[in-house]
C-alpha cells in the first residue's frame, strides 16, 4: 500500500511538474529559448524506486554529452537491489528533448547490463533496458532538477544450486515501473 501511495504521489508530482514547466515555457519569450545550451557535457545523479510486484531502490550517476538542443547521450553506473541481490547497472542512455530549452520534457532510452555485486558465486546478472519520460528544470545556470517515470526490464540469471544439481538456472524477468528524482549539472 505504501508503495502505491508513494508511486501515485511521485506520478502526480512528475505530471504536474511537467505540465507546469511546459505552461511556463510557453509563456517565455524567444530570448529565453535561445538560452538553451546547444552542446556540452552533463552529469545527472538519480535516486528512485523500481516498483511493481516488488520494489527496489535504485541509484545511478550518468555522465554524458549533449550534441544539440534535442539529442544527448551518456554512460551510467549505479547500484540496485533485486530480491536480496545487489547489482551494479552499467548502461548507456540516449535522450531526446521535446523542447529546445534547458527546462524541457524529455524521452530517454537506456540499455546495459546488471553486474552482480560480487564477481564470484552463482549470480550472473543480466541484460537490462528501459524507457522513461521526464522533465528537467534548471534552477540555476548549471544546476537543475529532474524527475521521470518509466518502465524497466532486466533479465537476471542465478545459478544458485541448492541441491547440488548441475545446469540449474533461475531466470528472473524484472518488470518494473520506475520513478526517479535527480539533480542535473551541466
Amino acid at each position: 500500500m505504501k508503495i502505491i501511495i508513494i508511486s501515485a504521489t511521485l506520478l502526480l508530482t512528475t505530471i504536474s511538474f511537467g505540465q507546469n514547466s511546459v505552461n511556463e515555457l510557453e509563456k517565455n519569450s524567444p530570448d529565453d529559448i535561445t538560452k538553451s545550451v546547444v552542446s556540452g557535457f552533463y552529469n545527472r545523479v538519480n535516486v528512485g524506486v523500481l516498483g511493481g510486484s516488488a520494489s527496489s531502490p535504485s541509484f545511478n550517476i550518468i555522465n554524458g554529452y549533449r550534441f544539440n538542443q534535442r539529442w544527448s547521450a551518456g554512460f551510467g553506473l549505479g547500484v540496485e537491489q533485486f530480491n536480496w541481490n545487489r547489482y551494479i547497472p552499467v548502461f548507456v542512455e540516449g535522450n531526446y528533448n521535446l523542447l529546445k530549452t534547458n527546462t524541457t520534457p524529455w524521452l530517454n532510452l537506456m540499455v546495459g547490463y546488471e553486474l552482480p555485486n560480487q564477481n564470484i558465486g552463482p549470480n550472473r546478472g543480466g541484460f537490462t533496458w528501459g524507457g522513461k519520460f521526464g522533465f528537467s528544470y534548471f534552477i540555476a545556470e548549471h544546476v537543475g532538477i529532474s524527475t521521470s517515470i518509466g518502465y524497466r526490464y532486466a533479465n537476471l540469471k542465478d545459478e544458485t544450486n541448492w541441491w547440488g544439481w548441475e545446469d540449474f538456472v533461475t531466470i528472473t524477468d524484472i518488470n518494473r515501473y520506475e520513478f526517479r528524482v535527480g539533480v542535473v549539472f551541466k
Binding site: L11, G52, S53, I149, W165, D167, V169, T172, D173
Partner: protein, 420 residues
C-alpha cells in the same frame, strides 16, 4: 477529466508490472512401464558380456555380478584362474541379490523376486513380492532434479534427461527433491546384499551394500532411511514386516553377531535384532563426513571414510572402532588413506580398495596398528569393493573383476580378470 483518465491509465499499466521467475534445468524425467509388462519380464538367458560395473556375490564356487537395472551374471568360479560365464538372469531394475540355501532373492525395483537355484544352471522363478519397496527407483543421473512421478502411469523403469523450462509460481517448481515426499530421488542405488559370515548357507558380498541376511531375516535399507525386515524362514513364502525408520542416510549395512552395523555419511548406527522383525537402535558413533562402508571382526569395526561423491566431506581415512561393548562403541585409531571405498577382512588380513592408490592389504593381527602394517599394494587397479574368501580375493575394478590368490599374503598373485 483528460488528466484523470491519463493518470488512471498510467496507474493501471504500472500495476501490471510483475516480475516473472522461471527455472531452466536438465531433469530426470520418468519413463513408465505398465505393471503387467514389468512383472511379466525376466528369465534366465545365455551368457552375455558385462557392460556395467555392479556388486559381486559369491556362493558355492559361483560368482554373481549384478548389472545395475538389468540382471545378474552367473559365473562358474570353480577355477578362479579361469572363470566361465554360464548365463544371465534378467531382472528388471535389479541392484542387489542374496542367496540363502537354494534360493536367490533380488530386488526388481519395487518388487522382490525369488528364484530356486537347486540347479544353478537353470534357475527357476518361484515368487514375486509386489510393491515391497514402494519408493524404489531405477539408477539414474543423480545430479539432476527429478520430475514428479505419477504411480498410476506404471513403474518407473528408466529415466530420460530433458531440458525443462518452467515458470515458478509461489516458489514451488514441479521438480522434486523429496525429503518428505513419497518418491525419493535415489533408488536402491549401489546397494547389494551382504552376509559377513560366509557360513556356506548364505552368499557373501562386498562391504558396499544395502541388503543383508541375518539368521532368518533379509534386511533391506531403502532410500537410506527405511529398513525392511523380511522373514525368509520359509524361503518360498517370505513375509515382509513393518518398515523400521532410520536416519542419517544409511549407505551400507553389515551383520555382526546379532547386530546390524550401518554406515551413514556422518557415522555408524548399530541396531539389535532380538526382535528380528523390528530391529532396535542400540548405539551410534559419529565420524568425519564421508562415505563409509563398515566390516566387523573380533569386536573391532573397520570403517573407511571417503570424501567426494554423494557423501561430501574432505576426510579419507580408516577408522578402527572397539565394539566389544556394543552399546558404547569407541573410536580407537584412525589411519590416513587416499580415497578408500570398500573393504573386507579375512583372518588377519584387511583388504582396502583405496581408489587411485589401488588395492591394499594390511596385517590386522593387531587392529590398533593395522594401518601401519601394509603388506601388499596393487597400484594398477582402481578398486571399488572386494570379497576376500578362502584365499581368493574377488575385486571389482573399474574395468573388470580381478581375482587374486592371497594364500601367501606377501606374494599375492593375479589369477584372472573378467573385463567389462
Amino acid at each position: 477529466m483528460k488528466k484523470t483518465v491519463l493518470m488512471l491509465g498510467i496507474l493501471a499499466l504500472l500495476g501490471a508490472c510483475k516480475d516473472k521467475v522461471r527455472q531452466e534445468y536438465i531433469a530426470n524425467v520418468p519413463v513408465y512401464t505398465a505393471y503387467e509388462t514389468f512383472r511379466s519380464d525376466g528369465g534366465f538367458e545365455g551368457a552375455r558380456p558385462i557392460t556395467q560395473k555392479g556388486n559381486i556375490y559369491f556362493k558355492d564356487d559361483f560368482l554373481f555380478m549384478v548389472e545395475p537395472d538389468e540382471g545378474i551374471h552367473f559365473i562358474d568360479n570353480s577355477n578362479p584362474s579361469s572363470p566361465v560365464q554360464t548365463g544371465f538372469l534378467k531382472i528388471w531394475g535389479a541392484t542387489g541379490m542374496s542367496i540363502k540355501g537354494d534360493y536367490l532373492y533380488a530386488n526388481s525395483l519395487i518388487d522382490l523376486v525369488i528364484y530356486d537355484l537347486s540347479t544353478i544352471t537353470t534357475p527357476v522363478f518361484v515368487d514375486r513380492m509386489e510393491d515391497v519397496f514402494p519408493t524404489a527407483l531405477p539408477v539414474s543421473e543423480k545430479n539432476y532434479p527429478y520430475k514428479t512421478i505419477d504411480k498410476n502411469l506404471g513403474v518407473v523403469t528408466s529415466w530420460t534427461q530433458e531440458k525443462v523450462s518452467e515458470d515458478v509460481t509461489n516458489g514451488n517448481p514441479s521438480w522434486v527433491n523429496c525429503f518428505q515426499c513419497d518418491f525419493e530421488t535415489i533408488g536402491l542405488g549401489d546397494g547389494g546384499f551382504s552376509e559377513g559370515s560366509g557360513s556356506g548357507q548364505t552368499s557373501i558380498s562386498g562391504s558396499i551394500t544395502l541388503f543383508t541376511i541375518l539368521n532368518d531375516y533379509l534386511y533391506v535399507v531403502e532410500e537410506g532411511n527405511f529398513l525392511h525386515p523380511i522373514n525368509i524362514s520359509n524361503p518360498t513364502a517370505p513375509v515382509a514386516h513393518d518398515i523400521v525408520g532410520l536416519w542419517g542416510g544409511v549407505e551400507t549395512i553389515f551383520p555382526y553377531q546379532n547386530y546390524l552395523f550401518m554406515g551413514t555419511p556422518s557415522g555408524i548406527l548399530i541396531y539389535g535384532t532380538d526382535s528380528p522383525n523390528n530391529p532396535n537402535y542400540i548405539a551410534s558413533l559419529s565420524h568425519a563426513r564421508g562415505c563409509d562402508p563398515v566390516v566387523v571382526k573380533d569386536d573391532y569395526a573397520y570403517v573407511t571414510v571417503r570424501s567426494g561423491g554423494p557423501c561430501g566431506g574432505d576426510v579419507n581415512q580408516l577408522d578402527v572402532i572397539d565394539v566389544s561393548t556394543i552399546s558404547n562403541p569407541i573410536l580407537k585409531q584412525s589411519f590416513d588413506m587416499k580415497n578408500p571405498h570398500g573393504l573386507g577382512i579375512d583372518g588377519d588380513l584387511l583388504f582396502i580398495c583405496d581408489g587411485e592408490a589401488g588395492l591394499k592389504v594390511y596385517d590386522a593381527s593387531n587392529p590398533l596398528t593395522v594401518g601401519d602394517h601394509l603388506s601388499h599394494q596393487f597400484k594398477n587397479i582402481q578398486a571399488t569393493d572386494i570379497i576376500p574368501f578362502n584365499t581368493i580375493a574377488m575385486v571389482i575394478g573399474d574395468d573388470g573383476i580381478y581375482q587374486y590368490d592371497y594364500s601367501n599374503p606377501s606374494e599375492m598373485i593375479l589369477l584372472s580378470k573378467i573385463s567389462f
